[in-house]
């Protein structure tokens, strides 16, 4: 008899997702469905008909964790549509905000979402962690606070920063604020050391598990990384499985990918059109960024030493965030040292056009596309969030992880096994709120009435 195992509401991720494992009569894993149960809030529908000046504010609300990336990406796309240029300082402030956001988001994932699972075997609560590793939680709170406070200094608030607007940013960063940020950055070095210590231990203890758990082979898509962490302004790099690298523009990328809608999920599955759904899966995010990077920090060298120069290890995502946090701090310091002036905003003149932009959100490549009419009213909006790109890969990784975990258990799945399977999902740091940002054409047919079976 075949069997279905359900993991409802995968814990410790942003938003809701469930996993269904289908086993055949011998207890062998047959199929895995990753259900994004976070309902679509249909931002592409909401944004249609709005004036462009409202778009960055609404776009920030797509996600409560990578708000800065959505806010900035929306501005970039509108600027691309209208051919608006932005002053140098505005660009720097945006980059600063992205780096601060990335630091806070990575700290959240490392210390509150993925970290506990790596430190404690089996299910754990905050209280467990607080009792066993009080220092770990303390460092996590501290590092998150540094990222969030920098956002607050720049944009007035910690979450949903909406300081970017088409044509630049709205507020200047004066000397006093710069000094405050520098002070915060200086205070980060100690917690970073503690974090590095914890994760060095984790790598050396669980190396085999880290390398093999949920490992799959995919392509990678990232902004081209160089000597520093590039999140904002860099060409797109498509790294194939065999190491071949293509340089693309945002418009080209849109032409290269297709999106498939699945009956069971609220989120589409994108893939490279020419390779098909099975082989054309690609991953974004920290693991993609670190592949061809040439950063210079101890954590980066440590990562390359343990995982090799080109790695497909899914659990590597957890570790790849740490060198990035070092780079975030270094990047912010460099930006402030390079000097900021008071020219921050150009006037944007709406005209008819279509614009595409990409930025690196903490979880990976984020794409916004807008078409506006001559008055600046949005006629078409499209958002592809990093977690949307990951849907297919998460499903595959879950399959691999579940196969090893359930191997020889004859279809029995204990709570401990479930936690292990969840770890493979959590490595991607899926943000279901982002992924559910767009309206689907097909939605499981509501039985009575219902409103969303029609495409609006």
């Amino acid at each position: 008899m075949s069997k279905i195992i359900k993991i409802d509401n995968v814990a410790r991720l942003e938003g809701h997702a469930s996993v269904t494992l289908y086993l055949d009569k011998n207890g062998e894993l047959e199929k895995v469905e990753y259900l994004a149960t976070e309902p679509s809030r249909a931002f592409d529908v909401i944004l249609k008909g709005k004036h462009a000046s409202e778009v960055p504010i609404l776009a920030a609300r797509i996600c409560g964790i990578c708000y800065a990336a959505h806010n900035i990406c929306a501005c970039n796309a509108l600027e691309d549509a209208w051919g608006t240029s932005i002053p140098d300082s505005a660009k720097k402030i945006r980059e600063l905000l992205l780096l601060a956001n990335t630091l806070a988001s990575h700290a959240l994932h490392t210390f509150f979402l993925a970290g506990p699972g790596l430190l404690i075997d089996g299910a754990s609560t905050i209280a467990d962690l607080q009792n066993k590793y009080p220092k770990f939680i303390g460092v996590g709170i501290r590092l998150r606070m540094i990222g969030q406070t920098i956002s607050e200094i720049i944009a007035g608030r910690k979450v949903h920063t909406t300081i970017s607007a088409p044509g630049g940013v709205l507020g200047i960063l004066n000397r006093e604020k710069q000094d405050k940020i520098m002070k915060l950055l200086d205070s980060a070095s100690k917690p970073m050391e503690v974090m590095q210590f914890y994760f060095n231990n984790i790598i050396s203890e669980k190396k085999e598990y880290m390398l093999s758990h949920g490992k799959i082979e995919t392509h990678f898509l990232t902004l081209k990384q160089g000597k520093k962490l590039e999140l904002y302004d860099s060409p797109i790099e498509l790294i194939m499985k065999n190491g071949k690298v293509d340089i693309l523009t945002p418009t080209q990328i849109l032409k290269k990918i297709s999106e498939e809608e699945k009956e069971y999920s609220y989120v589409r599955h994108p893939y490279l059109t020419n390779l098909g759904h099975e082989n054309g899966q690609f991953r974004v995010g920290p693991l993609a960024r670190i592949q061809n990077a040439d950063w210079d920090n101890p954590s980066f060298h440590e990562f390359k030493k343990s995982f090799g120069n080109f790695t497909q290890s899914t659990m590597g995502y957890n570790i790849a965030r740490i060198p990035e946090m070092y780079e975030c701090i270094k990047g912010m310091r460099n930006i402030i040292e390079s000097g900021l002036d008071e020219e921050i905003k150009n006037v944007a003149h709406p005209k008819e056009g279509c614009g595409v932009a990409v930025v690196e959100a903490p979880r990976g490549l984020l794409l916004h596309q807008y078409e506006t009419d001559s008055e600046g009213i949005v006629t078409k909006a499209r958002v592809i969030a990093p977690t949307t790109f990951h849907q297919g890969s998460i499903e595959k990784s879950t399959f691999e992880a579940a196969r090893t975990v359930l191997n020889g258990k004859k279809g029995h799945c204990s709570d401990e096994d479930k936690v292990k399977i969840e770890q493979a999902i959590r490595a991607y740091d899926p943000c279901m709120s982002c992924a559910g940002a767009t309206q689907l054409r097909i939605i499981k047919k509501p039985e009575v009435g219902g409103n969303n079976d029609q495409n609006i």
Binding site: L108, H160, I456
Partner: protein, 252 residues
């Protein structure tokens, strides 16, 4: 105090704001018993009794409706955190674009199905406290939470964002620009010292519930009114002696 948090259709931003409380959240006396974001599934969490239930997000699916109905009886106080949970928020914008047909869902058999009308949880359960904001500032959440934990009255906010803003104001009714002539984010950056409304930017600070220390306005961003209109709290108090809870219930 046992605290559980749930997220309905939302962006996780309010959970992030709850986390921003920082060390106070892990203080003695506060025990997080159920939270998708903060803990692994430790058996059995969803039905476990709690003293305070924090709800984020609006009701988007039938499953969301079933979830709030299931959680609410097991808790003593329900707190709606964020504008989606208080008023419907961004998620409710979808209602403007979709024709709605009210329809009851069968809570015994929740299905992943979009709710016919996106609405805030208060449509289905009694909510005791509202903390509006997108997201509410961590300080405000902390004050409310600590007041509940220590059994003090929850601080009530009766002033507007404008009262907290320290820009130069003439307090005269600003000349209202003709339609479409308001300055927007597309124009030049506003003067950081003068009142934004008087400069011609649509700043909603005068109508919006305060408590956020006018942080956006201080960063030169016109108020978006994310904490909702003050009228509901202040306006009606002038006309009636009934207690606040009753007034709010009537307004709903």
């Amino acid at each position: 105090m046992r605290i559980s948090t749930i997220q309905l259709g939302g962006c996780s931003g309010c959970h992030i704001s709850i986390l921003d409380i920082g060390q106070d959240l892990f203080k003695e006396g506060i025990n997080v018993v159920h939270s998708y974001l903060l803990m692994d599934r430790v058996t059995p969490t969803i039905e476990s009794e709690s003293d305070i239930l924090l709800i984020e997000g609006a009701i988007l699916t039938n499953e969301d409706e079933a979830l709030v109905k299931r959680m609410a009886p097991h808790t003593k106080k329900v707190v709606a955190v964020g504008s989606c949970a208080c008023f419907g928020g961004i998620a409710c914008l979808g209602n403007l674009k979709t024709p709605f047909t009210p329809q009851k869902c069968d809570s015994d058999e929740p299905k992943h199905k979009l709710h016919p009308l996106v609405c805030s949880p208060k449509a289905f359960i009694d909510v005791d406290y509202f903390i509006p904001g997108c997201p509410p500032p961590a300080d405000v959440i902390r004050d409310t939470l600590l007041a509940l934990v220590e059994d003090r009255p929850v601080p009530e906010i009766t002033h507007t964002v404008c009262d907290e803003c320290d820009r130069e104001k003439t307090y005269k009714a600003p000349p209202i620009p003709p339609r479409g002539k308001w300055k927007t984010l597309l124009d030049e950056a506003p003067d950081p010292k003068k009142c934004l409304l008087e400069q011609g930017y649509l700043c909603l600070g005068r109508q919006t519930i305060g408590g956020c220390k006018a942080s956006c306005i201080k960063a030169n961003i016109p108020c978006e009114g994310c904490r909702g209109p003050i009228l509901l709290y202040r306006g009606f108090k002038k006309f009636t002696d009934e207690e606040k809870k009753k007034v709010l219930k009537c307004l709903r």
